[in-house]
């Protein structure tokens, strides 16, 4: 499997609470730690020019 260059950031409400590259694990952890709060997924992309 290719290397994942993105780091995921998990938010509880509007606050970043967890970071890492294993999204499923991060989400499981967030759902337990921040039960009842709105969980959101974001990411830190490597810097660079984006041409989509």
């Amino acid at each position: 499997m290719e290397k994942n260059t993105y780091e995921y950031v998990i938010y509880a409400e509007d606050k970043p609470v967890l970071k890492g590259k294993n999204l499923k694990k991060l989400l499981q952890e967030a759902k337990i730690k921040y039960k009842g709060k709105r969980i959101a997924i974001s990411w830190n992309a490597p810097e660079g020019i984006l041409i989509a």
Binding site: Y6, K24, A40, E47
Partner: protein
């Protein structure tokens, strides 16, 4: 429908310092009915369809490879991306819609809300590099 606005987000360009991008927040629905909130999704009028990286797709769909397999091409010559097409449910500004979405066989792509059955459902205004507004 009330107007919903998202501020452009400052990002590192790596070449000319900071660059502002029209990144938005949107909800996506998994196959088990759970809504998942995604931040920093690129609103891209240059994209024919919406795109999600594999990790996100695997949360939404039981087996991403069951979707129709196609090769996506972009503006970069010779670059191809293998994707699986799925109908994904989205929610933006209280409007729910289903859009054909390319789930990439890669995590090296950013999530994109493209035109087909996505951006085309809204009046979208890119306000002078500061805000993206949906109504």
């Amino acid at each position: 429908m009330p107007k919903k606005s998202f501020d452009y987000k400052d990002c590192d360009s790596g070449i000319f310092g900071r660059v502002k991008r029209p990144l938005i927040s949107i909800d996506v629905k998994s196959s088990n009915g759970e809504w998942i909130h995604l931040r920093d999704v690129l609103a891209d009028t240059g994209a024919d369809i919406s795109i999600l990286p594999r990790d996100i797709g695997e949360i939404l769909v039981e087996d991403i490879t069951r979707g129709r397999t196609i090769e996506l091409r972009g503006i970069v010559p010779y670059a191809k991306l293998i994707v699986f097409i799925h109908d994904i449910h989205f929610r933006l500004n209280d409007k729910e819609f289903t859009a054909p979405t390319a789930i990439a066989d890669s995590n090296d792509v950013i999530p994109i809300l493209g035109r087909t059955k996505g951006l085309d459902l809204f009046e979208v205004i890119f306000e002078k590099g500061k805000k993206t507004s949906f109504s």
